[in-house]
Amino acid sequence: MARWEHFAHGADVGVRGLGDSVEQAFEQAALALSAVAADISTIAPSETVEVHCEAPDLELLFVSWLNAVVYEMAVRKMVFSRFRVAITGSSLTGSLAGEKIDTQRHDVAVEVKGATVTALKVERAADGGWIAQCVVDV
């Protein structure tokens, strides 16, 4: 079943997505990333942004995807609560749905500086699904 969670890292936060497919694990991890910055249950998916990224392997593609989300949050001053990912070979197309940051309504916490290659994994889980995770710097 698709879900996300945070895991502990000394000063920062680990984000982990789990899903039936790689794409779903990436989408869930993006939700975990958004939940570092704000309460995602309060974010209406009213505006959609498209991103595209490439990387030589699946793990770096995952980091590039999260960094694309970080970038859109930073330059558009938005927070997101719905993600769709399609992967073809070494390239990824994603859509991010959310709205402009409202500090009070979204219960914001901390901005994410970037996704790192620390504790980075994209792999099959024991139940046959997929896990995608890394630490994000806040």
């Binding site: 914001v108 916490a109 901005e111």
Partner: protein
């Protein structure tokens, strides 16, 4: 960390003997308790850094070291380009040139009491802070490049602050060798609305009282007296620096030096095209951080001017603790130009260092250690011994003891703010959750860290500061 796996050289110096691929030993400076509380990952990361080519003397960890990205946070490592030395984006960190700046205010704690609420409000409304905040300054592409080349000097030339501020900033407020053309368009776009913003997380602007003087001579030289009020700013290079870190970490993972024990140690030879491009971009991001702290200083001066016109904000010092700088050090009896990475570590030049401004040369460099909003911060001074011990480096802060998720379960933002108010500390923040995650109890004991730095001879304590107003992101 199990201290029995380390070789004890003194009560505050612990060695990891070189084995396997390690080119040099690992050395951790900390007391026994700090070592025991330290994450096992610190040993792993100190060890991994020791395998990188061109590393000199040792791979070091400061008393506040914790699990970082490739390099530990609190890590120091110097590389010689003549021996194939490398530069690492993770060894500098995402928030390039993040640092602390402290200013005298010309006021005492007693003078703050009647205006504490008004000043807190004025500072809170003058300095944009928190997720999604934007500054009032908008730079054209040409102006952005000028800022990235000029740093705090650019800021002063454009009316933000005073010329005399510059002599109290490392490298006189400007990192030379910056290459704005090596900074991506994306990084510049990310910075477009973020000049003069504080950021979030552990970044802050604080009004602090000098609560204790440890070293009267150094305190006098720094212009610090018991119960003086000072202003401290902790922030970095904002979106531009974060994006430079992101861009070059990826480039170094794909095209950097190999083999490395873990790709989070991604690096490039200093004498390579990628290494040189990163150096140019990192220095540009350093200038962005220096300009940013300079602009925030200007905004804070404006707030003081409105509330308490007699205040006179003069710069004590500005240090960066996520850096890679070219410095000359003694190695095996010869003077060498090294690239010194300090990731969550502060430069701490001792007395007589030629790079110090004349007014500080006799006494040594101020080392500014940020604490938490409820506890305290420290001002230390660099020592002569520090050069031999760790290329003149010291700690940078308290370091987290608890994850953000754990902290959120323990505290509520409102409760933290109310409790601190009872202790005389006014918190201003747009985010209750941010305050909860930054609760003082989520951090290690900064007193133990500062004490360890002193006992290890890395730097000597000069003054302890306690917060009275804290603006958080």
């Amino acid at each position: 960390m199990d201290r029995h796996t380390l070789e004890r050289h003194s009560d505050f110096e612990w060695w990891i003997k070189p084995t396997g691929e390690m080119r040099v030993p690992g050395i951790i400076y900390a007391g026994e308790k700090l070592i025991e509380d330290m994450d096992e990952k610190v040993r792993e990361q100190v060890t991994n850094v020791a395998t990188l080519p061109g590393i000199q003397r040792a791979s070091y960890a400061m008393p506040d070291a914790h699990w970082g990205y490739g390099f530990p946070i609190g890590g120091v490592a110097a590389f010689d380009p003549e021996e194939g030395g490398v530069i690492s984006a993770g060894g500098v960190g995402f928030d390039i040139s993040c640092g602390v700046r402290t200013l005298h205010t010309g006021l005492t704690a007693d003078e703050l009491k009647p205006i504490q609420e008004d000043l807190a409000e004025a500072l809170f409304h003058s300095v944009p802070a928190g997720v999604g905040s934007t500054g009032a300054i908008s730079l054209s592409e040409r102006e952005m490049d000028e800022m990235l080349s000029g740093g705090a000097q650019w800021a002063v030339e454009h009316g933000y602050g005073l010329a005399e501020d510059l002599e109290r900033i490392e490298e006189s407020g400007r990192a030379s060798g910056a290459k704005p053309e090596c900074v991506s368009h994306a990084a510049k776009k990310r910075q477009a609305e973020e000049m003069g913003t504080l950021g979030s997380g552990n970044h802050y602007l604080e009004i602090q009282r000098v609560a204790e003087i440890f070293d009267a001579k150094s305190a006098e030289a720094f212009g610090l007296k018991q119960d003086d009020l000072v202003l401290s700013i902790h922030c970095g290079s904002r979106g531009l620096g974060h994006q430079v870190g992101t861009d070059y970490l990826k480039s170094m993972v794909i095209d950097g030096y190999r083999p490395i024990p873990d790709r989070e140690l991604a690096c490039a030879p200093i004498r390579s095209e990628l290494g040189q491009h990163y150096l140019g971009a990192m220095r540009a991001a350093t200038n962005c951080a220096l300009a940013n702290r300079q602009i925030i200083t200007h905004l804070a001066r404006g707030a003081f001017q409105r509330i308490v016109p007699k205040a006179n904000l003069t710069l004590l010092y500005d240090v960066s603790h996520n850096t890679c700088k070219i410095e000359v050090h003694d190695v095996d009896g010869s003077r060498r130009e090294l690239f010194v990475h300090r990731k969550g570590a502060t430069r701490a030049f001792g007395p007589g260092h030629p790079d110090l401004t004349p007014s500080l040369r006799e006494i040594g460099q101020p080392v500014l250690i940020g604490g938490t909003m409820g506890t305290e911060s420290y001002i230390l001074v660099g020592t002569t011994e520090g050069e031999k011990l760790a290329f003149s480096s010291a700690c940078h802060g308290a370091g987290r003891a608890m994850s953000r998720t754990q902290a959120m379960k323990h505290w509520r933002g409102r409760q933290v703010i109310d409790e601190l108010r009872e202790h005389g500390v006014l918190i201003r923040s747009r985010s209750f959750r941010g305050v909860a995650e930054e609760a003082p109890g989520a951090y290690k004991d900064v007193n133990a860290v500062a004490e360890a730095a002193e006992h290890a001879n890395l730097a000597r304590r000069v003054a302890r500061l306690v917060p009275l107003i804290c603006v958080k992101g």
